[in-house]
Amino acid sequence: MHEMGIANSILSGVAKELQRRPGARAVKVGVRIGELAGVDPDALSFAFEALTLDTEFAGLAIDIEYVAPRSRCRKCSREFEVRNYELLCPACGSLSTERISGDELEFKYLELEEPESAATGRAEPQVAESPVIGSGAAEIRAAESRVRELEVGKQ
């Protein structure tokens, strides 16, 4: 259920990026999430949609790359993708391997529509001010009650 807070943090990051690019509109944000990060991609997509609805981020898409953990063999240094928690090194068969990644929760990219009129000076610089920024419990509770409304609406 903490996907709501994570979605909120993603929007904070997007808003921050937009502040540096006056007039730009965010279209899609790409994130990378490791299977061991404890974040469910479907729940995150749903939370993201609920949080952006009827805000200036409405329609902002999220592209989630869900990545498998990787390990490194201590004997032969081979790095490999871990499937089903398999510890065995695929190259030399050693069991002495260490996990090197898997809990990623990071930004990848942001797709933007830049104002064509930026050069002519017609675009009004808009500093994004998100109504959902902040990681306080109150914001998250408000967002969660919105999700409940949405869920009721779906039924």
Binding site: Y85, F107, I140, R141
Partner: protein
């Protein structure tokens, strides 16, 4: 359309506060451990036994997190150590800001160890760095031995798994060896301590682990950085 690269962690703000906290804890030489488990696995009871076993002059403090009530803090205050309750008001995990706020009026130089009891939840707390030196996961023998595979994130990130309520092993179908094997599939280096807070078995080993971990922590501080 223009695609620009974005870098950094999604939980950047939490990561920033956690890094500040970690720096403070290192400066003051306070070992911080973060206890995480499902509700009812025995975090508070293990803490009670821990505080009971510590010398009264021990320089230890406790932060305990719950969605509601001061019950756990009241239980733990009886042992004479500084204890504070963090009431999250519905949030399912502790974050670095809550820790920062609740230690604000504690003099860290008077502490050797801070034990944080997270909200009972095996999922969400694993995503939030609190500036701790080590995460510790508890698994009770009345749960399923496949929990490490169902909730890999927290087992991946914890240094130690404390198997609790082991006095119940004769009465439940729990396979402790399978649980440990599962934990080590997710995290090959996982250390394990088996504890019965009721009978007292394993509590000495648990206390030794904490002291050993503190020595390791202090030895890393002594090393020159870089």
């Amino acid at each position: 359309m223009n695609r620009v690269p974005m870098e950094g962690k999604v939980l950047n703000e939490n990561a920033r506060v956690a890094a500040e906290l970690r720096e403070r804890f290192c400066e003051r030489r306070v070992l911080v451990v973060n206890l995480i488990s499902s509700p009812g696995s025995g975090k508070t009871t293990l803490l009670e036994k821990t505080l009971e076993a510590l010398p009264r002059a021990g320089r230890v403090a406790v932060l305990t997190g719950d969605l509601q009530t001061e019950n756990d803090a009241n239980r733990l205050k009886r042992y004479g150590f500084p204890v504070k309750q963090i009431v999250t008001g519905g949030t399912c995990h502790l974050d670095a800001r809550m820790i920062e706020k609740h230690i604000a009026d504690w003099d860290l130089s008077q502490l050797d160890m801070l034990i944080v009891e997270n909200v009972g939840n095996l999922v969400c707390p694993s995503s939030y760095d609190l500036g701790e030196a080590a995460k510790i996961v508890l698994l009770s023998v009345t749960e399923g031995e496949d929990k490490p595979l169902k909730y890999p994130s927290i087992f991946f990130k914890s240094e130690l798994m404390v198997l609790t309520k082991t006095d119940l092993l004769p009465y439940v179908p729990f396979d402790a060896d399978a649980a440990i094997a599962n934990a080590r599939r997710v995290h090959p280096e996982m250390e394990v301590v088996k504890v019965s807070c009721l009978g007292g078995n394993g509590l000495g080993e648990w206390m030794n682990w904490l002291e050993r971990r503190r020595q390791v922590f202090l030895s890393t501080l002594a090393q020159p950085v870089g």
